[in-house]
Amino acid sequence: MTMPAPTRHDEAWRYSDIAAVEAAWPLPAPESIIVPAGGNFARTIVQDNGAIHQLNIAIGKGATAAIYILNIGGDFGRVDLNVTLHEGADFKLGAVQIGSNAQTLEIITTVTHVEPNATSSQIVRSVLAGTSTGSYLGKVSVARDAQLTDSVQSVKAMLLDRSATANAKPELEIYADDVKCAHGCAIGELDPMGLFYLQARGLAPADAKKLMLQAFVAGVFEGAADEEMLIEAALKKLGELV
């Protein structure tokens, strides 16, 4: 039996390019990743051709998983992660999405702490130009038994044009009483005084913007095995925007 394609009424798809989703429907089953107890897993996803990626990741006791995402290509690009953390597990996400023209880019994460002592850290940076739309829907759930959960979520978006759109929806659902869940969310534009300062020292406007945007996304890919490739690809796309 095939599920009907989602509509805007489905919360997880409300900012999506529905026509593109319908064209891709039905989607293949999500990739399922099980990190065994004590294991370490890392994956880099470069979404550069307008694809929908769906991953279910179960992180076993004391295991770690790190996902790095660069979401930049195609008319509609979506990466959807569904992460379950068992006792003492650790999940790390570093994600950058850079949109131009009429692109719709989105990252959806559902991170569920089902057992105690697990840690999760998510950093998402979006740079949006033209009439592009960049969305991040990030839900962190902490089950009743998942005491001493430590979860951090940092979400920032930079709008380069008035016509670009950023959606951010951080969501916390906590049933345990002894947990740390920090989250921050900000949407802004490049500081004009900073830009002028850089230009007054000799940088052309596009280079000044690029330098500031580079700083904005810097650090997100820290620790990735292919950090250099990711930064280079991100800079290339940023260079097209400014």
Partner: protein, 247 residues
């Protein structure tokens, strides 16, 4: 070198500069003093091309070139340096990376060969050393977490690295303690007191002028130069205040 003729400028609808005329020749140091709100900082911003300032009348030439036609980065490459009253913090961008890119952008604009990383670091180390600034600070993000004095010192290190023909220094002395004032004053003399260079010091106080001796002192009041003289004018202002002197 710099020739400002009957310059009028607005911020929004508000006229700030109202017919300012000033000539600066190579080898000269000029000080502009004046009360708050006279238009001193506006003058620095207009000359360096900050967006949001509308020039309604007058002209400015820099080494014969129409300065007002140039973009801020082109003015920098032409040899103009603005020392900011409030140097801007730019998180995530390291001083060295930014300065090397800026310097090489200027060199490229002038068809000079770019400096390699090693060549640049040598220059940066010399300039930082001359201003008693720790090289580690130069590797940190631009002005982030710097004290007021450190920011001003960093401006001078940048000026030393960029080595401009004309420096407009907007209240570079504000926020400095006595020792830092001396260091910054020495820096201005060392970098800029040369026959082919010039300085426009914008200041409220005489004290910087004890270290950097101006050749000319001007009073800027209500958007124009109301009085000009030699270094003795600064002392007179310090003694009598602006009210007595502004005509």
């Amino acid at each position: 070198m710099l020739k400002i003729t009957n310059l009028h400028a607005n911020v929004g609808d508000k006229p700030i500069l109202k017919g300012l005329t000033l000539s600066i020749n190579a080898g000269e140091i000029h000080a502009i003093m004046g009360p708050n709100g006279a238009g001193k900082s506006t003058l620095g911003y207009v000359l360096s091309g900050r967006p949001g300032y509308e020039i309604t009348e007058g002209e400015v030439t820099f080494n014969g070139q129409n300065l007002l036609d140039l973009e801020p980065h082109e003015r920098a490459a032409a040899g103009l340096f603005l020392g900011f009253q409030y140097p801007v913090e730019i998180p995530g961008v390291s001083n060295v990376q930014f300065l090397r890119e800026a310097l090489n952008a200027q060199r490229k604009y002038r068809s000079d060969t770019p400096l390699s990383g090693a060549e640049f670091l040598k220059v940066a180390r010399e300039q930082a050393g001359a201003l008693s600034m720790d090289m580690d600070m130069l590797k940190r993000p631009v002005n982030v977490g710097f004290s007021g004095g450190e920011k001003k010192r960093n401006e001078m290190v940048q000026m030393g690295i960029i080595d401009p023909a004309l420096a407009i220094l907007d209240e570079t002395d504000s926020g400095l303690d006595i020792d830092a004032l001396r260091t910054v004053g020495d820096g201005i003399n060392r970098i800029m007191r040369k026959p082919d260079k010039a300085v426009l010091l914008i200041t409220h106080y005489q004290r910087l002028l004890d270290y950097v001796k101006p050749d000319f002192v001007h009073v800027l009041a209500d958007g124009r130069i109301t009085r000009s003289g030699g270094p003795e004018l600064a002392l007179e202002l310090e003694r009598d205040g602006y009210k007595e002197l502004a005509v």
